[in-house]
Amino acid sequence: MKSFMIIGQFVPGTSSLHKLDPRTKMVTIFSFVIIVFFANNVLSYGWLALFSLALILLSKIRIPYILKGITPVWFLIIFTFILHLFITREGPVLLEISTFKIYEGGVIRGLTISLRFLLLVLVTSLLTLTTSPMEITDAIEELFAPLKKIKVPVHELALMMSISLRFIPTLLEETEKISKAQASRGVDFRTGTLKDRMYAIVPLLVPLFISAFKRAEELAMAMEARGYNGSEGRTKLRELKLTNIDYIAILLYVIINIIFFTLRQ
């Protein structure tokens, strides 16, 4: 499973996308998510697709890896396409198979919705592919800093987020280790009836929970031992700073959007 799911995975690199400030990436990508919904003709969709392709090329991550990595999403995209194909009844009939009629409007609707979907998934997975989880949490902490004024515990939330992100691989590793140990003792996670398989999970979950609780306790102790007491007076090791590359990126992004809004009808 680990081998084909790339959503949320980080691929270290030195491309210009990797070098961008995470705040720049987050703001542009989230605004892109909204902007995708404004596309309404071939030209504007084409322009956004071109932009996404350029981003992928800039990231220097191999395209087959990305396309294969979003396998689960492909099913969803194809499913939406087929659904729209059969349900929408607009425009002239293109094809008639016994009782099923396929309309032109259905094809167009299906294509646009799936393209929209694909662009969203591609661009947002580029964010996590080129930004380490630590950078993402740092950026979130910075971006939400104004909320501190209304007593939202931004620092604590960001810390919780970074700790949970930090422990995902650890827990996965632990899961794999324990499932291997239990498989060696004859547990079969893959075959058998649904009931059998549900029972097979118990020997996996119990040790996993125990070690997670132990780990949490140890982590809390280690943090206290090193004098952690919340955000008060805390400075940062890596400060986020906008550099020239960020200003260039933002400028380009604005220009791309201006062109986009002139292309759409």
């Binding site: 680990k2 081998s3 691929v11 991550i61 191999r62 890896y65 632990e174 280790k177 324990i178 291997k180 140990a181 239990q182 498989a183 060696s184 003792r185 004859g186 547990v187 079969d188 893959r190 118990v202 020997p203 119990v206 040790p207 125990i210 070690s211």
Partner: protein, 289 residues
């Protein structure tokens, strides 16, 4: 059961930027009843290698033969349960796999999965808790109220209760106190001798490899670096240092002693006390001369 590796390679997460070849082109044969030690630096591929022996990993290239089972990359998902019953693995920190309410239930978990009849299971539970030197009143306790060392023994008993023909030990002494280490290693050695169990020990402790193994396999960077009996392996000091492995202290001591005092002491798996006697003997004889 004889075990054979024929040009086995294994790659983690192939066809991704994270692809990592952990072992490459391994050729090995281990005969039934041997005590093998696999040593190597961290990341040399030891754990990957031993997970091939009960089919937890299937080779990306080449094939592994264990008794009548042949494992290779194009294997369809076959029923590996029979194989796993015969190959018991004691993983690193095996106490992390405990989950049942009582020690007894946890030990019988393995045999139960392999469909052993009930009365046979209770016999095995008793004999295996004896083998790991715990009292029978532990059977009713929860494994989580035991100390770390006791939990380790319970987990080992759980593997022994499967009565495997091949026993794989992945650093079984890690994190134990010195006495616990000696006890556990002795216990495995006795089991090996009394049951003619094929034993494969993965270890960082060269003393253990020297003391118990018939043959040592040195892995480095995913390949077999050296192979031979302990005396042979540990005489190649320079080659060992190249892959960051040490020669056991007792051997360096004997070597230095022989050089300095013209001694003729040979290492024959003697303990420290026995060695001391030999040294005394040596000085007595030399005085008489």
């Amino acid at each position: 059961m004889d075990i054979q590796f024929k040009q086995v390679s294994y790659t983690y997460q192939p066809h991704t930027p994270f692809a990592y070849q952990a072992i490459r082109n391994i050729n090995l044969s281990i005969s039934s009843g041997e005590y093998i030690a696999i040593v190597g630096h961290t990341g040399s591929g030891k754990s990957t290698l031993l997970q091939h022996i009960n089919g937890l990993l299937l080779p990306t290239d080449g094939e592994v033969q264990i008794g009548e089972y042949i494992l290779s990359s194009n294997n369809k998902r076959q029923d590996l349960r029979k194989l796993r019953e015969k190959v018991g693995i004691v993983f690193q920190y095996p106490e992390h796999q405990l989950f049942e309410e009582t020690v007894e239930k946890d030990i019988s978990f393995g045999p139960h999965n392999f469909g052993i009849p009930k009365d046979e299971i209770s016999k095995r539970v008793l004999s295996s808790i004896e083998k790991v030197e715990l009292q029978t009143n532990f059977l009713e306790k929860s494994p989580f109220e035991l100390s770390g060392g006791q939990m380790r023994r319970v987990a080992i008993a759980g593997v022994l209760a499967m009565e495997p023909e091949v026993l794989i030990l992945d650093e079984p002494t890690a994190g134990l106190d010195p006495k616990g280490q000696i006890d556990i290693m002795k216990m495995f050695y006795q089991l090996h001798q009394s049951k003619q169990m094929t034993t494969i020990l993965v270890t960082h402790q060269m003393d253990h490899a020297l003391k118990y193994a018939d043959r040592i396999i040195v892995l480095a960077n995913g390949e077999v670096y050296m192979e031979g009996n302990p005396e042979e392996i540990f005489s190649k000091t320079n080659q060992l240092q190249e892959v960051n492995l040490d020669v056991p202290e007792i051997l360096t001591l004997i070597q230095d002693f022989n050089q300095r005092f013209n001694g003729t002491i040979r290492y024959q798996r003697q303990s420290i006390a026995e060695l001391a006697k030999e040294i005394v003997e040596h000085f007595r004889e030399n005085k008489r001369l």
